[in-house]
Amino acid sequence: MHDAAMLLAVLVATLRAATPLVLAGLGELVAERAGVLNLGLEGMMLVGAVTGFIAAVATGNLAWGLLAAMLAGAAMAAAFAFLTLGLRANQVATGLALTIFGVGFSALVGNSYQSQPIQGLATTLFPELSTAGPLLQQVLLIDPLVWLSLVAPVLVHRFLYRSRAGLILRAVGESHDVAHAFGYHVIRIRVLATLFGGAMSGLAGAYLSLAYTPMWTENMVAGRGWIALALVVFSTWKPGWLVVGAWLFGFVTIAGFQAEALGLSVSPQLLATLPYLSTIIVLVLISRDRVRLKLNAPAALGKPFNPAA
């Protein structure tokens, strides 16, 4: 019984830690499949986190918080789309700008909300169940967004591979000139994919500030945006593998805490390096096969589209 509870606790904790990576990663995966490389995930997640938190505090309703976070993420993505797709600015540099701006903006807006407590997502939905037994309490930590992180990859997979719109989106990402010649609106499709990516990043950020650790602290995303980006490469742009990668990361993050619980004394700072070092290892493992990476990467990824040419 004790073992079962322990196992369940690890499983649930892994799913929760993986959720923001799955959500943000899926958004970026769709954008990259359309040929847009947005390196601004970290910034969009931060702005989503702070906007969601403020909206939830102001309205007293977490659903409004989540919606506001998605809109804020999409607004950031719209700025990115305007610069890169409208004005054809360099996607790498613009993505970095988005992150730098997001770090500053979220810190500024959230300044007076630092460390203010808020009722988190899971418990407010089922308040009557909060006195349930230990096993059920673990399951209660699975909030709607964790469920979403399990369902959304299936939906995105179906969209990309089983729908006409998904086929067009992938065509735009493989060869914008061919897609353009067939009469598809390359820019419009890319803008929509970018906005979807932004909304998902915003939602992932709000998951952190409203469910995972229900409060706002400066820079609370702590590199998860970049890890999600690495996971997209790791997944070779396939939703299923993205989820596997995110679970792996969730587990690595949790394993550190579990090691501590088992009495291994490791400095918390060194434990905190685990996800970053794992990202590097994962990236190395997947990138060393150049051919495989090249075959799977959207061929027009990061390349500007010039309809006049």
Partner: protein, 358 residues
């Protein structure tokens, strides 16, 4: 009506120089609007941001002090970007440089001689290089992209520094504060102007400008870097090694960032703390682009960015604005610059909307 971008047959060089000025003007306007939105008098706040820091010798010295790490990091980043090598992790190399150089200072303590400071600087440069070398190795050997690797190494470096100052290197007489003992006077960079904090590090930073220009404009290795960046196909045909360029750029920028790191802790800080940089390594990316990836331009851009940091601190005191304002203005600056750059390569026309033919 809609905007139409027509590619120019050749880039517009004047706009390349004007774009940063346009971006600064727009960011200033944006900052003014931001201040007004936050309920401050925009003119007074802009005055506090841009002018107040410069009205004393000490202010100018502080400006040089803050421009030093920005300049060192940005020149390395810019040379890399010229070759299409993106070292986004200068912040991490800065921190590891500070740790390595600072470790030398702590190891010898009061036993150091004249050689201590040069040894610290060398250790700082070597530390930054080593941290960047990881990214160079993984890129050239395993094709792992340097943007993500250098960034992940930055987050790692922050934690390593935190571990050291909370653990093995913590000052035993420091009342359990996360900090190392103060460096001995012999381990601190000499101050250039009595009564201020500007130190020898500023000289290194200034020297990096002509040296960087020389490297890019007059030396074979600089030529290779530019060819690899502008025409990778031609570079391969000419037999220029791509791996060699990646190694060179990352080691150079890592070394410069490491130098910046040790100069910061052996200068104004004087010990290791959990946080030793307000994000100089990341701001240096903006500096590199604002300076048009050219050392001379970067000098001016670094001074401007240093002024933003200095003015941001002033705003915190005089206008009670949070320090994060600086980050927002920095982000706006880069946005506007990237937007303004469109005029270099494209002619922007307003054309009437034509009826679509199916």
């Amino acid at each position: 009506m809609r905007l139409s971008l027509e590619p120019r047959t050749s880039p517009w060089p004047l706009m390349s120089a004007l774009a940063p000025l346009l971006a600064v003007a727009l960011a200033t306007l944006g900052a003014g609007i931001l201040f007004a939105l936050m309920g401050r008098d925009p003119l007074a706040a802009l005055h506090a941001l841009f002018l107040s820091p410069l009205d004393s010798v000490n202010g100018l010295a502080e400006l040089a002090l803050k421009a030093t790490p920005l300049l060192l990091c940005a020149i390395g980043i810019a040379i890399g970007v010229r070759a299409n090598v993106w070292n986004i992790g200068a912040e991490g190399q800065f921190i590891i440089g500070a740790i390595c150089g600072g470790g030398v200072a702590l190891y010898f303590g009061p036993d150091g001689g004249w050689w201590l400071l040069p040894l610290m600087l060398l250790a700082g440069v070597a530390g930054g290089m080593a941290w960047a070398a990881v990214a160079a190795f993984l890129r050239t050997r395993f094709n792992a992209h340097e943007i993500l690797v250098t960034l992940m190494l930055s987050y790692t470096a922050v934690q390593v520094l935190g571990w050291l100052v909370h653990g093995p290197w913590q000052d035993p007489e420091g009342f359990n504060f996360p900090q190392t003992p103060l460096f001995e006077p012999g381990a601190l960079l000499p101050v250039l102007i009595e009564g201020t904090r500007v130190n020898l590090g500023a000289v290194f930073a200034l020297l990096s400008v002509p040296l960087g220009s020389l490297l890019l404009g007059r030396m074979m290795v600089g030529f290779r870097i530019r060819v690899v960046g502008l025409a990778p196909g031609a570079a391969r045909y000419a037999g220029f090694s791509e791996a060699g360029t990646v190694w060179f750029c990352l080691l150079l920028s890592g070394g410069l960032a490491g130098l910046a790191g040790i100069c910061e802790v052996a200068g104004p800080i004087g010990q290791l703390l959990p946080v030793i940089s307000p994000g100089y390594g990341f701001a240096a990316i903006i500096v590199a682009f604002l300076g048009r990836l050219h050392p001379v331009g970067i000098l001016f851009a670094a001074l401007l960015m240093a002024l933003l940091y200095l003015g941001g601190e002033g705003l915190q005191i005089s206008q009670q604005l949070p320090l994060a304002v600086t980050g927002v203005i920095q982000g706006m600056l880069l946005f506007f610059l990237l937007g303004a750059d469109v005029f270099i390569g494209y002619r922007v026309r307003i054309v009437p909307r034509t009826p679509r033919h199916a």
